[in-house]
């Protein structure tokens, strides 16, 4: 590292901070990079032009407008910011409202601890967007929050604007264990699915009441009183109306099929199965229904329903046409999603693009933000990572992480390596 006078560092920190605190009016060109676009191959000696937080140009010949800051990547790899489609960081101990198996009215944003250092540690691993989900204690858990890892900024600046609302469902051992251990329903898989079905039926009743009411109002009936609003049923009605992306924690093949059948029975769509360690057994059906999976690369054996997990799951499903993401579900794995994706190149032979897609564009699709992030394409958010080393390897580490064109992590900086954050401020 070149020695730079401290005043220059401080000045640039101040400038970067000032820019970021305003409205993303940045203009930078990252040049001399091996650009892994995800959607249109890898460009050696490529450049990316960023304007106002968005990618404005990508290619070998990108002109540098006067006034743009030039960042020389020094021949290093540049990827989109990584995306974690299953995370529980920054929620303190509030991941599970494990007091009832049906809690769709829980909003994870109400527990979002935007100062949690985990957001920083994961950022330092190259992740720029995460889906923070409710836990898996309940058959129908709470509604997720999508964040950008702008550590050091205020809470609202860290929320992904306009991201669709996801809701977490779960099945199998966790709900069974949590309620079964208290001698409550559900303690079996029959109980699990009955509880879920019952909830959806009551949501149908609730919707009918409202439909009747609205129809009467429309007819001009002035004496009619509105039904009582119920937050829980409101949320379930949103599931049935297709307003929420349904993300289901589910391991066993038979349960994947049951969840699909139930969705068909009640007429809602599933976005993705999470963990889905036995998805390789029913990959055709998942592909036919357009359901993605967010899975581990090789984690297994931690419980009975993870006993048939195999590290070829991701690639076997992908080859059958399933959209596959590798996710963390862990404060630890979230810091090295790139290594986890690299494993798919070994287990089943994913190509470089396919492997990278599992932690960028496919993860973005699962969250419903693939039109905004997940690849290096013109018009997308300038969430970018310059890597020391080849990203899909054991020995890669982010050198700089940009979110919407601003540097949020720079490994070469002292302290925590964050331009926008210093301890005690």
């Amino acid at each position: 590292m070149n020695r730079v006078p401290i005043c220059v560092i401080l000045l640039s920190l101040w400038t970067a901070a000032a820019l970021a605190q305003s409205t993303n009016h940045n203009e930078i060109v990252i040049k001399n990079a091996i650009v892994m676009t995800v959607t249109h191959g890898t460009i050696s000696n490529g450049s990316v032009y960023v304007k106002d937080g968005k990618i404005a140009a990508v290619g070998k010949d990108v002109s540098v407008p006067s006034g743009a800051t030039v960042v020389d990547a020094g021949g290093k790899y540049l990827t989109p910011g990584l995306i974690d489609s299953h995370s529980h960081i920054a929620l303190d101990d509030d991941v599970n409202e494990a007091t009832s198996p049906i809690t769709p009215q829980m909003m994870m944003i109400d527990a979002f601890d935007y100062q949690d250092k985990a957001i920083y540690r994961v950022l330092a691993g190259g992740v720029t967007t995460s889906l923070l989900l409710h836990g898996s204690a309940n058959m129908i858990g709470g509604q997720a929050v999508v964040i950008k890892h702008k550590y050091g900024m205020n809470r609202d600046a860290m929320l992904f604007p306009g991201a669709p609302q996801s809701i977490k469902f779960a099945s199998g051992e966790n709900p069974k264990r949590v309620y079964g251990s208290r001698d409550q329903l559900p303690s079996t898989r029959m109980g699990n699915f009955e509880v879920q079905r019952e909830a959806l039926v009551s949501a149908q009743d609730y919707m009918r009441e409202w439909d009747d009411y609205n129809a009467k109002v429309k007819r001009g009936d002035k004496d009619v009183t509105p039904p009582k609003r119920d937050l829980k049923l409101d949320a379930l009605a949103d599931v049935l109306r297709g307003k929420l992306l349904v993300q289901i924690h589910c391991y066993r093949a038979d349960e994947l099929l049951t969840e699909m059948a139930m969705a068909k029975e009640f007429g809602y769509k599933l976005r993705a199965f999470h963990h889905a360690l036995e998805a390789y057994k029913v990959a055709d059906q998942l592909a036919a229904n357009g359901i993605g999976i967010a899975t581990f690369s090789d984690w297994w054996g931690y419980k009975q329903e993870a006993w048939d997990a195999i590290p070829w799951n991701a690639v076997m499903c992908m080859r059958k046409g399933v959209r596959v993401a590798i996710k963390s579900d862990s404060d630890d794995f979230a810091r090295r999603l790139n290594q986890e994706a690299g494993k798919t190149m070994r287990y089943g032979g994913a190509t470089e693009d396919e492997a990278l897609r599992m932690i960028t564009l496919n993860a973005a699709w699962i969250i419903g933000v693939d039109d905004r992030v997940g690849s290096i394409d013109v018009g997308k958010d300038a969430d970018l990572v310059i890597w020391d080393g080849y990203p899909l390897s054991s020995s890669a580490v982010p050198n700089k992480v940009f979110i919407e064109g601003d540097v949020y992590f720079d490994r070469s900086l002292p302290g925590f390596g964050m331009p926008h954050y210093r301890e005690g401020e």
Binding site: A283, Q304, S393, G417
Partner: protein
């Protein structure tokens, strides 16, 4: 009677020999043309490695290394060949499915001082986890009880192949963990709180255990002395034998460690715990190897001057909120720079196969590549006293050899063949069988 026993022993001996000879490799195997990472003497780009009777009998460059006439020659152009990897702490053979209690024999929680627990009594040779692990080139491992007790029992050093537990358990009771991380306190809840619920309690209890063992040793020494004195007496009247002390398995188990014959594996994470644990070990003149030291960045020089090896990590341990993101990642590099002999461990069972990636990751944080590879091979062999047999590609060592598509420390590398004791290990596991079963779908 004596004769019968003698004959019986010789039959057993013959049976053992017959067993070993069928198990051992028959024909010499030659691995030719691969890139040999010898660990002990550099890289041979186009090398030849000969395995005979379970041992490595030649290592050298292609063209200048003799190939035995009757050998089976395997062409390995483009492949990388390296010694079997050694995981310096696992729970292999003690667990099958983490959440299913009946498949776990990880640690005895009824008491904290349990040196008389021997993992070899529980080691499950047929565990499905073992083929999964060795398929990634890990051929040897320390099996340790879980770290929830201060003295949870004694480790064994195993080879991850063999027809039975007896064949796999190479060294029983090789070392004893002493855990001092705070997790051994019995203070999980107010209702369940019991002694020792603080670090003071942990230390006092440990100290008492070692004192009791010293006392026990003294009783036996006194007894032996009196017995010998009595035997030496000429007058039958004076030959009154002293009463033999009662055997105590727990205290007996501590004696080899008090005598410095075997190492204590001293686990601590934070500087204060580390210093307390080291002081305690010194108080009783224990020989020790350090374990974890995950959050001890502020006392690296102190660690270095202890001049003992460190089982480092796991480097994926989450840093404390006040630590930089790479405070734990960079630990192996920082210790290595100060001349500390390090070895990596998975501290796991299901994920033990990922051991080499920890070493690979540490290279991104200042650990030179060669030292990273050493930390999962030769350094580990030296720490566990088996460097005459394992840890490098050298003539005379056990033929634990791995053939892979490239860099052993990288996640993309596929392991193609593992040899243990010169034997070709079937490259199958429960997981490959499931893959194959559902691949035709």
């Amino acid at each position: 009677m004596k004769n019968v026993i003698g004959r019986w022993f010789s039959i057993v001996g013959l049976l053992c020999l017959a067993f070993v000879s069928t198990a051992a490799q028959q024909k010499p195997i030659v691995l030719r043309g691969g890139k040999l990472l010898t660990v002990s003497h550099g890289v041979i780009e186009h090398g030849v490695l000969v395995m005979e009777n379970g041992k490595i009998t030649a290592v050298g460059a292609e063209g200048s290394t003799a190939i035995p006439k009757n050998a089976r020659v395997v062409d390995l152009k483009g492949m990388t060949v390296y010694p079997g990897l050694i995981d310096s702490e696992t729970n292999l053979g003690l667990t099958e499915i983490s959440a299913e209690d009946m498949t776990n024999d990880l640690v005895e929680l009824s008491e904290e001082i349990m040196p008389h627990m021997h993992v070899y009594d529980a080691f499950h040779a047929e565990s499905e986890l073992i083929p999964v692990t060795r398929l990634n080139g890990i051929t040897n491992a320390i099996v340790a009880p879980e770290s929830k007790d201060t003295l949870p029992g004694q480790d064994s050093f195993v080879q991850l192949s063999g027809k039975s537990a007896n064949e796999m358990l190479m060294i029983r009771d090789i070392a004893m963990p002493l855990n001092f991380t705070g997790d051994q306190r019995r203070n999980q809840s107010r209702e369940k709180r019991k002694y020792p619920s603080t670090r003071m309690g942990m230390a006092a209890q440990l100290r008492q255990a070692f004192l009791d063992a010293q006392d026990y040793q003294q009783h036996w020494a006194d007894y032996e002395k009196k017995k010998n004195e009595a035997a030496a007496k000429t007058d039958d009247k004076d030959k009154k034998l002293p009463t033999q002390p009662k055997r105590d398995l727990k205290l007996e188990a501590l004696l080899p460690y008090l005598a410095g014959q075997k190492p204590i594996i001293l686990a601590a994470e934070e500087p204060s715990d580390l210093e307390s644990a080291v002081n305690l070990a010194r108080e009783f003149n224990l020989k020790f190897v350090l374990n974890h030291v995950s959050h001890s960045q502020p006392v690296l020089d102190y660690i270095a001057q202890l001049k003992v090896p460190v089982i480092v990590g796991p480097i994926y341990e989450t840093p404390k909120p006040y630590e930089r993101f790479d405070a734990v990642y960079s630990l192996p590099g920082e210790l290595n720079k100060r001349g500390v002999k390090i070895a990596f461990a998975s501290f796991d069972a299901h994920n033990a196969r990922n051991l080499p990636y920890q070493a690979g990751f540490a290279t991104a944080f200042g650990l030179p590549y060669d030292d990273a590879l050493k930390a999962i091979t030769l350094n580990a062999a030296e720490i566990w006293g088996v460097a005459d047999k394992l840890g490098s590609l050298d003539v005379g060592k056990t033929a634990n050899v791995v053939v892979a598509t490239g860099d052993p420390l990288d996640v993309k590398t596929d392991v193609k063949q593992v040899f243990i004791g010169g034997q070709e290990i079937p490259m199958t596991s429960r997981q490959t069988r499931l893959r194959d079963q559902y691949s035709g779908q």
